[in-house]
Amino acid sequence: MPKEHREEYEGIAEEESMILAVLFANSVGNVLIERFNGVPAEERLTWRSFLVKLGAENLKGVKNEELLVACHKSVYIVYTMLGDVSIFLVGKDEYDELALAEAIFIITGAVKDICGKPPTERVFLDKYGRICLCLDEIVWNGLLENTDKDRIKRLIRLKPPSEF
């Protein structure tokens, strides 16, 4: 890598204490939703295939919401299965495996709330828009934002976080 690029790269790396990626995939590894934060565009494809491969190798027969963990260098990965959908979270620094576990718990909770149960792929796609809005309230610019179920529910309906 040329030097100037390196510096640029390092600059990004310094503020990387965030959830680098949120990725939803179906049972055969097609990506349903992905949100990258602070990951250079050229690395996204690699991440995507790494995560999908990880899921394909380890998620067979895993119970709903059982958390699996992996790490790559100083980056942590927590992933799980919910119905037909696998969910991956990648984080760094402050977002270590436990913080990601926390975040994934909130995300799965929100998805279950929206779909009414662990979703089939079909149901998931039907609720695609709402799930995106939820995600928007949970992870904001790579940082975990809202963690409370009711609060998220209110916010995606454009209601204030606490109501009177």
Binding site: L67, K73, D96, D126, L158
Partner: protein, 1247 residues
Amino acid sequence: SKIVAGRKLVGSIVRTSHDLSPSPVTDPSLAMAESSGKTLMDLISADPTPVPAQSTSSSSSSSTPSPAAASAASSMHQPMSTKTTLGEKKSKRATLMQIQSDTISVAKAALNPVKANIMPQRQRQRKKPVSYTQLARSIHELAATLDQKSSQKQLVNHVFPKLAVYNSVDPSLAPSLLMLNQQCEDRNVLRYVYYYLARILSDTGLSPGGGIPTPNWDALADIDAGGGVTRADVVPRIVNQLTSEASNSEVEFHARRLQALKALTYSPSENSELLSKLYEIVFGLLDKFKDYFPVPCRSTDYISCRFQVADVPHKRKKGVFGTKGGDKESIIRSNLQYAAMSALRRLPLDPGNPVFLHRAAQGVSFADPVAVRHSLEILAELAARDPYTVAMTLEKLASPAGALQDILHLHDVLARVALARLCHGISRARALDERPDIRAQFNSILYQLLLDPSERVCYEAILCILGKYDNTERHGMDERASGWYRLTREILKLPEATSKDKSNKAKRPQPLIKLVMRRLESSFRSFSRPVLHAAARVVQEMGKSRAAAFAMGLEDIDESVHVNAFSDALDDAETNDSSHPEGIRRTSSISAGPGRNETIASLLASLMEVVRTTVACECVYVRGMVVKALIWMQSPHESLDELKSIIASELSDPAWPASLVNDVLLTLHARFKATPDMAVILLEIARIFATKVPGKIDADVLQLLWKTCLVGAGPDGKHTALEAVTIVLDLPPPQPGSMSGLTSIDRVSASDPKSALALQKLVQAAVWFLGENANYAASEYAWESATPPGTALMMLDADKMVAAASSRNPTLAGALTRLQRCAFSGSWEVRIVAIQALTTIAIRSGEPFRLQIYEFLNTLAEGGVQSQLSEMHLSNGEDQGVSGTGLGVLITPMLKVLDEMYQGQDELIKEIRNHDNANKEWKDEELKKLYETHERLLDFVSLFCYIPRAKYLPLGPISAKLIDTYRTKHNITASSGSTDPTVVATGISDLIYESTQPAPAASNSSGLDDDLVNAWAANLGDDGLLGNNAPAMSRVNDFIAGGGTDAPDVDEENVFSRPSVGYDDMWAKTLLETNDQEEDDVRSGSSSPDSTGSVESSISSHFGGMNYPSLFSSKPSSSSQTTGKSGGSKYQSTYEGYSSPIREEPPPPYSYSEPQSRESFENPMAAGSGSRSYESDDEEPRKSTGTRFGTALYDFTAGGDDELNLTAEEELEIEYEVDGWFYVKKKRPGRDGKMAGLVPVLYVNQS
């Protein structure tokens, strides 16, 4: 049929939940679609072509494809879907093109009034497939017909959710979105509008959206000369509208205000105008609520503000516990506070701005837990830069009844994590040395977080206490060490305020170590993998801090201390001394109570027992982390067996990915850096990797580990370290299919061809390593050889020679034996490297080693070696030739160089004898001839390996005098390198030579082994030189610096090595700081290790670009590289027929102090070095201290102007010595009238 099928599939997927009556015809295809794993996204991306066609031809919508067609289509799609995302990649280009054309039509549609394209609503309800074009168009249409209820429904249920699939949003949608934003009342529609506006704002070509890739809209708009809409056109409008909304203070509007503010934070931070606007809004919001504070902020002075912040009444309780029905006003306030604080968190940090700090600190007392979290996070970041100011601002809050104490019970995990970081930052700040009270308060909060119910928080507190977050070089080591001290020595005592309503059990002061150990032990019993992983990581960090504590030699680190001793002592102190406001005190008295005999060591032991059992976890990553933790917790004195067997059995598991294996290898590296004493232990572990998973490990990294361990092992360990490397060579060749020895670490598990190949590569690397570094490990150098030159020639009997060799230097002899074995028993590739390695050793070693190798090579070339060696010299006399080894072409030139050297030596001895017998002086021509031979041989030898030119004597030690005579006469300075630090880096061996020769006294006095210092210097120099060029090095650096967020290696492609800082410097500083004296000595005359411009020595490129580390690797500058090559080419013609790679090791730059003498020598360097002036300190006259006296032993006739005629018995005053010459003064002028000049040392008898 494909088109129809595609349409069909899309149709089936995009059907919404409202579609309650799917026709029976579509059901099978739907099932097919699902079973084949097709999704909305890849369907659209795979074949979007039919979609626009479909949407425009509204009448054809009723035609439903037959089930047969659908099933055919789905089977057609089957192969693609199984390819997962990699297949997706291929289709992306097509998709992009498609979307591009779609987009153009969208842009056109947007330009032209939409009337003609309005679709009847009933058609929509038939769930037709949707394209981006259509979605975009619908938005325009529906925005125009917003007054109808159905339009809103359409938007919320169909259009907006589907648009979310795309990576980014077309800016041309912005006008319609803004219109919706202004006119629509429906909250659900509005929520989506904010979502999409935010996406338009955040889209900078690198949008975080993911999903189906969309084109660069701006570029498209440019292509479309009709005047497409670009981001630049719409962003100001969006920003304007959102900012005005964010400033709208109507109560009814405040939910929208939140979303507007949120959307605004998505815009990229380069927009300074927008930034200042945002700061204004946020500060305005926060400022507005200061009215509620009882003490108004009197001035901008933040110190006075802190009282006001501190005195906020505790209104949070309501918010914290989520009780509904607080008064409306305070709830709205809390909501807006949340919005402002969240936005502030996303804005760039503004350190040094008291207003910013004050606003952030305000948030600590907010009712909204998320706002509190953001506030703490900002404060923690600020505290990392300026702990003093932050501490002063928060002083009151940290008191036992302050707001920070309340956060301990706040129901937000990350808020408590941020609190831990904040407290750590302040309690460790040196800036607060004068305020121990403040530090103690924050420290107390930090320690209380150890009791936190959440593992995340508790671990964070542990890591903070361990000093993990000080990554700055030496300071970091200090922090780590004192972190370990704190953890093992301090106790937690809960302050009165919080313990009063708690159970009395918690009241008893607890030693931190006990709390932590208990917590970790229970964590290891958890079933949650993240918890196990995190716990193992914490143990690893503990190990790091412990290693640092041992490395720093902290006194009082004794682990057999009873932990309860401290708390007992505190109990005693408690009764008579309660004046301390802080809850933490230190004590060192040891008074173990009966029955409580837990020591730190025993606690650790029981923890490690639990850790070891965790190896049974089915998750490979957890196991990897456990192994790392075990490596870090391994102490140099404990038995290694358990760890070894754990690693061996772990590695046998094929589930381990290569990246993880290398991670563990890098951990070994890091461990070595922290504890150089463990070199040998670590090498033993590394050996397991080499034997167990040769296919998975990075040979470069392993090599680097070998090297650093070899260097770090010290003089006593060098032999052992080299042995550990060579053991790789002793392994039997892998037996395919033999899986019996799974847990035996002495067996190679290379059952598949790939790992067999990797193993061979590894052996190759080991052989090369051995050749390159055996001389270093054995401290045997030809130019320092103690053996008198004639001795070797007398030992022509091979047996005697071997015996002599091994008695003189077992290390080198052992290495030779192994290499010799490799030279005829390994694979062809290994044999080549072995021969090269042997030649290197031959050239670098003195006798009898050189002769031994010479003989070996000779026999090998002539044949019969195999039988000779294997049958104990019972050769049947059959000449097998070199065909048996296939090395003939390779050996010939190597033998030739040795031949020539021996020939030259023979001739020289003959000449010397002639001269002595005839008792005549050497003539200048004779000397010149000799010198030329010397130079020619030097060049020749340099082709094979690096040697220090200034010291190396291809004609044997006996030639030294004569060469020097000639040099002195002609003012040639033998130099090993230029002093220009930016240009040349000399060989390591020069460093070694220089320091051992001139300053033995100095190094002895310091009590430091100078050999070790050399080794460090060598390592340092080498590391610096390898620098950024060596991927292995940067990988190691990376790892140790904790970097590496780059994407993982999925298919063993190249890993992008990320640069990092600190490792080399840290290493250099921590180890070398104490011996500056020696370091200076060592470095003088050579370039600094920082000098870059390093070019990989060409030798390593023969191994496919692997950068083999070598203690000898000389890294000449690029210019000398080129000149070196030109020099090398001179010999290329002479030695054509090399089929093996020729080592073009460039000769180091040669220097002449007098340019006019150049012409007289044929020197390859002359051509390229014209522009540079070489200088040399190397051969600066070394003045001996004090004046000595002596008498001339013989008559001596001056050979040059600077030499002095001597008459035997003449008395002399010796001024200084230079390379075998004395500069002497006579008492009275001689016959020639000269008083002073140079005379050979041997001609003078010193008195």
